[in-house]
Amino acid sequence: MRLAAILVASATVLAACSKPPADAGASSPAPGYSLGKGWRAAVAADPAVLGNQGTDAWVRLWENDLLGAVQEFKLAGGTDEASAGAARALISVASFLRAASRVQLALEVEAAEYRVAAAGRIEPGVHTPLVLGWALLRTGAADKAAAVLKTVAPEDRPLADKLLAGVPVGEVVAPAWREKASAANGKLDLWPLVEGAKPLFVETVRDGGNEASLRHRDPDLLAVTARAASLEAIEVVGKALGAFAFLECEAAAGASHAERVASSCSRALQPEPVPWFIGRFGVAETDDDLAALARARRDAVSAMSTPGSDRQRLLVAARDAGAMGAFVLASAAWTLGPAALGDVGRDAVIGFATERLAEVRAHVDQTAASWTGPGATELKRMQAAERQGAAVATAAAETLMLAGGRLHLAVQGLESVYAPGRASFLDARHSPEYLVMLAAAYFDANRFPEGIGILRSLEATYPVIGGLREVAELVSVQRSLDTRGAARRE
């Protein structure tokens, strides 16, 4: 369930990662801003969120922005303002690169930063002596490293001494991990281990790069847990981004339909909760409906997230309001998480989505029944019905997934609509974030081959998926290790 939850959350990450908003803040030289506030905060919080492949893609994006920033600096003739902007950008880049274990690049960027800002200062919390010392060691500047490492805080002293003695970072922490595995005495469970090991992992990252994740193919528990821990970060980031996207879209929801479609929300941020839900479910016919729904949703979110509010009353009222109420709850779940729905809210949403699935099936069947033979018109009608059915089924299934605890129902519903030969699960019409959620649903149902297959199919286009797929694979292995299997003949 946990992996599924993480993947559901990461679907949002994927959307934002694969489609950085092109227009938001494009005039700013600061790369963090141009790539979205949510992402800047998320990645700054824990770059390991991206994994190795994601980091490669991410670095490329940063480099592009960095070039833009430097260019602007040059064009501005080196004014103080431009210099400050470029320096800020470079600091961000350097800090990201360091944390993402691109130490060499980070040092190069730092050099540029020093040139731009004309100051050799060390930013507290960004350039810790431990990080800088280790980075200098990595680049062979032993004397400089020794000087810097002498200045570390007392709590970092043991690690600094080991680094000075030439012990690789991975080997410094790996024995502790092995000890944990040994103590597990055959009761190895990935998630408790992750919980227990997280501080060490965080330490490793803070220490200048997730050395551990770079060694992910070594038979070393450190690698598994490091990557699993990074997935936890994804969950956090996903939630943050979900909320961020919601706020952006909400602002656009008061505009007319045409403006809404053209808004940065619907173009750049996925998913676009309000128009997205409404569009797919068809619960709002007019702009007034839309505005009313947006207000209701905002009120629901506010009431559900306010301590002391009469949450239960609100949930019951929403449930009793039928489809509209269920929609409000479903959309609120995007912001607050499925747990906020409680049993009443969850049942309402599930009932709503299940009902829509049944409607879809009936609709497709009804259209098929009117198809009396080969002919372009009939065929088009059939295809249109299937497309419409597929869209609604997708939305319903996503809602079921979001409502939590009904993932198998979502998969079942989808499979009944997306019969191979009619439409494929991996059809290009489906958004990558939806497919990641579908993979999560499969994982939740312990159908790992299907889930892994979906992630692998996405990986070529969205490298960040590689990290998710790797963890999913390891979890699948871990779950079956204790139960020796059998091969049978077909």
């Binding site: 030969g421 297959g453 692998r456």
Partner: protein, 508 residues
């Protein structure tokens, strides 16, 4: 009148209406009827499927495909250190012949599975059981050799009645296998040799409470015949529909297609005791001569050509190892370098023409076009292949696996989620019918049995993939996508990707 009725039936089928209702019957097709129904010796998938209806396990599969639901055991207690589990059998549980189920049945079953002489497929699963003890008539305790992370998964074997074996060793040809008595939601009624059917009926009062009253397994060996019979309502479901057939079947109104990912792959095995096949250069040339992509797409549909002994959707498959590309010219050069001569399209070595026998396993024999295609591709590089495809489970075991009277063997392996290839390639493996011996592979396989570290396990899988892709005891062919086709009069169909009928009692 009869002609009119037939016309109506055909018209109904043509426009895709439901066939005439079959009341509460459910008929499904297998390309070959199970040789027996003894779950202790269920080495074929068709046996596994029918046994899921006839027998109970102590703990059943839950909706998340993990062992979580009470089966023959109504309750259980796992020791805090997870080195033992005690189960309490269901009050009033009886065998289909009316005898009460006792703890002795459970201990008998476990001992039979652990008896190496029985070669039960569940042997490895239970090998961690140190002791199984009947505490009283309804209570059994399992003690393990070490802590077990998911002890309930150990309790998913099918329990058999001790009283019908009389303390004797379990044998494949035991009469029990032809007239099984289980505790499952369906009881065995009859087996007809005339039309190759097995009839089962719902057990009244079984706690699973199935809706469907009767289930019939019908052997329909030919794939086209399966489709036709299905379309005209003779059967309600085809267990395994390959992708190329989906378009035709899914175009029929009221037919649902239910996809499921089976962990399986096809192979062409080399008998490593035979002169040509024991030469690794020859094996590599054969693989290079095969156009697997074309064959798969033309005759089977969607899937993936594989380079090693795992399905690509498992964590053990190393995607960095690309499948060998089809290149008949290169295959000819490889054969020449290995001392073969091609005279007018006939390959020979030391003056003797190369003629090989290709044994086709019963489960894939229905794909004659695949066999002919592969035969033709080998002929292109001068290798004559004589096809033998009339095996049933018994003759395959006798002639191919025991006597090893073949050069090449075409077949398909299906795995549970562990995807264990231990018995296929370990020198001591019971399914190592090719005679493969490699100490490095043995070591990797031994290590993989004992590790509890997922990264180590995955790395070992990748290493095994690499060595076996190099050694080629098999030419690894492809892994396919499957679906079940089922008329929509049966609703709420959910399929377990391995056991298939685990959720049959939810079907309506």
């Amino acid at each position: 009148m009869r002609r009119v009725a037939l016309a109506v039936l055909l018209l109904g089928a043509a426009v895709g209406t439901s066939p005439a209702a079959l009341a509460k019957d459910f008929v499904y097709a297998e390309s070959q009827a199970p040789a027996h129904m003894n779950p202790l010796l269920a080495t074929y998938m068709n046996i596994l499927r029918v046994d899921e209806l006839l027998f109970d396990s102590l703990v059943r599969q839950g909706r998340n495909n993990k062992a979580t639901e009470p089966g023959l055991a109504e309750s259980w207690t796992v020791a805090p250190d997870q080195t033992s589990v005690s189960v309490r059998l269901r009050q009033g549980a009886t065998w289909h012949d009316g005898e009460p189920v006792t703890a002795d049945d459970v201990t008998f079953t476990v001992k039979a599975i652990l008896d190496a002489g029985n070669a039960s497929p569940d042997h490895d699963r239970l090998s961690v059981v140190r002791e199984v003890v009947a505490d009283d008539a309804r209570s059994v305790t399992f003690r393990f050799t070490r802590p077990v992370r998911e002890p309930l998964e150990k309790l998913t074997f099918k329990v058999v009645p001790a009283h019908l074996f009389g303390g004797k060793r379990v044998r494949a040809d035991d009469p029990f296998g032809q007239k099984p008595q289980g505790t499952g939601p369906y009881r065995f009624v009859s087996r007809s040799a005339a039309d190759n059917t097995i009839a089962m009926e719902r057990v009244a009062g079984h706690p699973a409470g199935c809706s469907i009253e009767r289930v019939v397994m019908k052997e329909v060996p030919d794939r086209e015949a399966q489709k036709s019979t299905f379309k005209y309502g003779g059967i309600d479901a085809i267990v395994k529909v390959h992708h190329n057939d989906l378009k035709e079947l899914s175009a029929i109104r009221h037919v649902n297609i239910v996809p499921y990912a089976q962990n399986s792959w096809w192979y062409m095995a080399f008998n490593l005791s035979r002169p040509h096949c024991r030469d690794p250069r020859f094996r590599a040339a054969v693989l290079t001569a095969l156009n697997r992509e074309k064959t798969m797409k033309a005759h089977l549909g969607r899937g993936k050509v594989i380079s090693g002994p795992y399905a690509p959707t498992t964590a053990y498959y190393d995607h960095k190892i690309a499948p060998v590309a089809h290149d008949p010219d290169r295959a000819s050069s490889m054969l020449a370098a290995a001392g073969y001569r091609n005279d007018g399209g006939t390959l020979s070595r030391d003056g003797r023409p190369v003629k090989l026998t290709l044994a086709v396993a019963p489960g894939v024999a229905t794909f004659q076009e695949v066999v002919l295609d592969l035969q033709s591709q080998l002929k292109q590089v001068g290798i004559e292949v004589e096809v033998k495809s009339s095996f049933d489970a018994r003759s395959w075991k006798r002639d191919v696996e025991e006597k090893r009277a073949y050069d090449l063997a075409l077949g398909s392996w299906v795995f549970d989620e562990q995807a264990s290839i231990y018995h296929l390639f370990h020198s001591q493996g019971r399914d190592n019918f090719v005679g493969y011996r490699n100490q490095v592979v043995d070591r990797y396989l031994d290590e993989s049995l004992n590790t509890i570290d997922p990264v180590v396990a995955q790395n070992l899988g990748w290493k095994l993939h690499a060595v076996l892709a190099e050694d080629l005891p098999y030419a690894f062919l492809w892994s396919l996508e499957f679906s079940t086709a089922i008329w929509d009069r049966v609703q709420d169909v959910r399929i377990h990707p391995y056991y298939y009928f685990s959720f049959v009692c939810d079907w309506k």
